[in-house]
């Protein structure tokens, strides 16, 4: 599996600049790596107002249980929300906060 190099701040900067893609081939590998993390405890977004508001959430461990909604982590720009997902997952994989 692709191993993310935490020193590649250039890839972080590329995502920050163009979070919706398309991505360079190297950044695409990073994004794919961050998108195949286990479902359990995966950070996601919940659309809490159509087209206007997204809230950070974390998937639960079991079916039929509540996901964790971070009501203090609300975004009025969808791409700001995806940057938060990128950041948190990068940190989970590499142990380092890319922000």
């Amino acid at each position: 599996m692709y191993d993310i190099d935490p020193s590649r701040t250039d890839l972080v900067a590329e995502f920050r600049k163009n979070p919706g893609g398309p991505y360079s081939s190297e950044l695409a590998l990073v994004v794919n790596r961050l998108r195949v993390m286990p479902m359990t405890d995966r950070h996601i977004l919940v659309c809490t107002r159509r087209g206007r508001q997204w809230t950070l959430a974390k998937m639960p461990r079991e079916r039929g249980t509540k996901l964790e909604l971070y009501e203090d982590r609300v975004f009025d720009d969808y791409h700001e929300g995806t940057w938060e997902l990128f950041r948190l997952r990068w940190k989970t994989v590499t142990g380092e906060d890319p922000a």
Binding site: V46, T48, R50, G51, W54, A57, G64, K66, G81, L85
Partner: protein
Amino acid sequence: MKKVLGYTNAWSVTPGETIRVMVSTYGPERYRADLVRVICGDDEPDRDIYREEEIEAPFSGEYPGRTQPIGAGSYAVVPDSPSLAGLESFTVQAWVWPTTPGKGEQGLITRWRDDPAGGFALLIDDSGALAMRVGDGRGGVVEIGTGEPLAARRWYLVSGSYDAAAKELSVRQDPIMSPLESLKAADATREVELSAIADVGAPLMFAAFPATLSTGKAAAQRHYNGKIDRPRLIGRALSAAEGLAVAWDAMPHERNTQVVAAWDFSRDIGGDAISDSGPNGLHGRTVNVPSRGCKGHNWSGAEQNWRHLPQEYGAIHFHDDDLYDAGWEADFEYAVPNDLRSGVYAVRLRADDDEWYVTFFVRPPRGTTTSKLAFLASTATYMAYANYHWMMHERYCEATESFWTTLDKGDVFLQEHNEFGLSTYDTHSDGSGVRYASRLRPVLNMAPKTPLWSFNPDTHILGWLEEKGIEYDVITDEDLHHEGVGLLDSYRAVLTGTHPEYYTTPMLDGLRAYLARRGRLIYLGGNGFIWRCAFSPEMPGMLELRRAEDGIRYRDEEPGEYYLEFTGEFGGLWRRLGMAPQALVGVGTVAVGFDVSGYYRRQEASFDPRAGFIFEGIGADEAIGDFGILGGGASGSEIDAVNPMLGTPSHALVVASSEGHSANTYLVPDETGFHHCAMDGAQNPDIRADMTFFETPGGGAVFSVGSIAWGASLPHNGFDNNVARISENVVRRFLDDTPFPMPG
């Protein structure tokens, strides 16, 4: 997050009929209900295209709220009988194939009451081992277990006996031995200190313990996941050897007069009846549609079709998350008035700061049409996607769809509420694929103001029809299934939605017959006419599919179980059944991709006079649909192309083809015999949508865009764009009575 939900007993209604509306609230003490006509359900605020029209209705008003429970999980039940009540010594046995033996206590065969405890239960205990429990009805309970956990997905003969004379309780599990692994048989016996086992007067249940919902309705709990085959009840405590003799005997009551019941689940496949082949007729029924037509303990592999060798398909596969009918009480009814125009409607429910739309479809009065154009709502597909959980369950969903998981409020509710049931894209809690989908429950993705897939993007087409002043009737897949070509015959043209994916045999036959006569079909979608499905003739509102062989299956189908139980037909892709969509509409699925959509370029055939009407007002070099809500283009999500080998008519004109597809758009599995490194839209020349037109000998015609994203380009620039123009050109010509002449 969701505070109010509901459903109706029918999705398709005709004026003069009455529908029942079932509502549940989650917190609020009151809710308001109103009727609206759905015109465009896309509520993204920046697009400003959402439209609904409030309609006066007698039911409009405030109602008291209440939470209505759902008893999900399948089981079978046999009504109480003197044959059950008179038992003293007895043995219960069955062949079982547990799929989650470690999930906690699960009832296998029970005649039990929890409080005060009484009766008997053969069960899987908390350790995953077989156990037998008896109770005296006054709270005295004795239980014995084998202590040996059952292995998942292995067949066992399991039995429990009570010897009233010896006051002994026994339990035994015997695996069908494999030459490759060593599974342990185990048994145990203990003394029973109880004075007697209580006759609790309860029904006998398979795959669960009895329960009562908060409404007082009988239900079940502690469900078993897995198969049960040939359960038997014998009026004596059998030895191990006697038990084996009964278990392997197809008709044990012919040789053992103490057999009380010998259930044969190979009978009645396709329905909810279960039959006792023994002398007492202890017949019963299943609840919540467990899977039938399933391989039994004796499946040899010699036959793949349950109809050819039913005695090897005697198993029922139960799941703790199966659901047929939510069974809510109706809050109110609505008699559809004779003057209500055909269309898509919804009961709009509002409670506190939440709202929900219970969507249904109103046909013209039976036997009549009120327009020359019919919009064929893809209700079979809406059912297949009903309460889709893939984004919450599938690890690779983001990599498949090139997105970051973004759930809707409805998804969040479903994640917390397993009892609302799954979609045919999901897996059960035991990992097996979901084969059945019901509309008799709230469907959280079949409403306006929901994400743009399946139902809601079809309202882009409705919104466009309204914007252009094109009159239409609404009919549904279920109507086509039941009424065939007669439903379509009076329409000059039929218009599909964006994704008419699932077709029963009668639906396909009806559509083909319509085209063979003089019909005209406008296919404004992609990945259509792909999978065979079936509607239950016995259980209204229940759809079945089995994802045989290949295609985008989402999950494996169980080998040996590719035949639909409702019809006995082989399931899978219509392409694999010899009726590829190319032979119906000229094009069939080639690729899927969800990040960036492409656009069309006119091909040489577009300048053929036969196709002139399509491109009136369209420039020769114009990019068609290089805009849109789904991926920024009209050719995307799931796209179709011609293939003469699969039946594209020889005179079909490919008038435009798409380009600009992304590296995240891939060939579908049925389009490639071997994976390779050029399977994506950036490299593969076969990845394209073909806009196709052809005439039929009866004076009819077919126009196909072969793209799900097409409809989402219609609203661009106030519905004034070349996608909308081409669509309108086609609809207006198809509604013209002038026959289409065949070329040559």
